[in-house]
Point group: C3
Chain length 148, copies 3
Amino acid sequence: MNDQVVCIAGVTVLGILEQAYFSLQVINARRKFSVSPPSTAGPPEFERIFRAQANCSEYFPIFVASLWISGLFFNQGATTLLGLLYLYGRYQYFCGYSESSLGRLKPLYFSAKVQWALIGLGAVGVLGTMSRLYLGLDFTQYISQVLL
Amino acid sequence: MNDQVVCIAGVTVLGILEQAYFSLQVINARRKFSVSPPSTAGPPEFERIFRAQANCSEYFPIFVASLWISGLFFNQGATTLLGLLYLYGRYQYFCGYSESSLGRLKPLYFSAKVQWALIGLGAVGVLGTMSRLYLGLDFTQYISQVLL
Amino acid sequence: MNDQVVCIAGVTVLGILEQAYFSLQVINARRKFSVSPPSTAGPPEFERIFRAQANCSEYFPIFVASLWISGLFFNQGATTLLGLLYLYGRYQYFCGYSESSLGRLKPLYFSAKVQWALIGLGAVGVLGTMSRLYLGLDFTQYISQVLL
């Protein structure tokens, strides 16, 4: 099984490293703006970095779950590409949000679109497997042959 | 392997869509009550919607992990049913909490019970597999034949 | 497949139970310090318990993802041991943070080190599988034979 999911696992490891990088940025910002735990309130510069990391953390489980479902039930190649685009979008979002509230919007819309594509491919893959198993109709194989 | 987990994967996709719906409700509430990011403080109506979504996001990884362990190690049918009940309970919780703090309690207790059932079935499944592998005693098969 | 991941699944169930325990502690603290939802602000004693649980929840998906990748792609035994150490470190962190902000630091550094070890083993396992699949070089088997 490992051989069929190694690229998705690689994207997941990259995603974990990205989250670790964001966490380190929050620790730095806590020092720079003297905001000691457990407080999470501070100057807007600190709150933007804190919220940027909190937002990325909140969506991380949704990203990982949709990545693996799309990779297992649709296609590993397309899923890997979308996963890398998502991580790139999240990096741009974190940098943009750190600078200004407006700066978060463009990369946020981009990563949201990529996230919806992953959810869509996962849903197509799951519905295809269900229709093959329970209705005897195999349309996934047809779709992935036409599209890819 | 996909064929044995397709229903759990389907429940996971539904759960992701539910989380996306909750996130969109927070974005709407930010607009309605004029609470611009990075701030998360506002009138109680806003804070209830914000906390409802934050609470559901916080428990989403625990839900997904227990869903897959119960589905893989106990039984896919029972797990799928419990998963759907949990998502229904979380929808009721979100709607109830949006209206009043008290309104969150009844669906919260319901989804907590379903969550404990998923954890319990997962634990039984894992202990059963361990006892078969390391002690040579196969009691899972016996339990799932009696119960289901 | 289940037989190769049963110990990681067991660690995951323990991790879920630990998170449930932390959540119950926050509910108790809400009652003790009279902090009603949706508010999350209160005396420092309450805020420390609230942030301790929030921090553990935030890192739970990263822990579970790295645990499974390390277990699937590197080695189940070493991964199980590290997983148990991480859960022990998080328990010490929660208890320490509940008492004082300083009390969180030592177990935080400990669990961070264990978390990095899990990420590192997962990365080694994934890179090893990729190099075997795409370059024809099998170094994982060699490493796990030498180290374990």
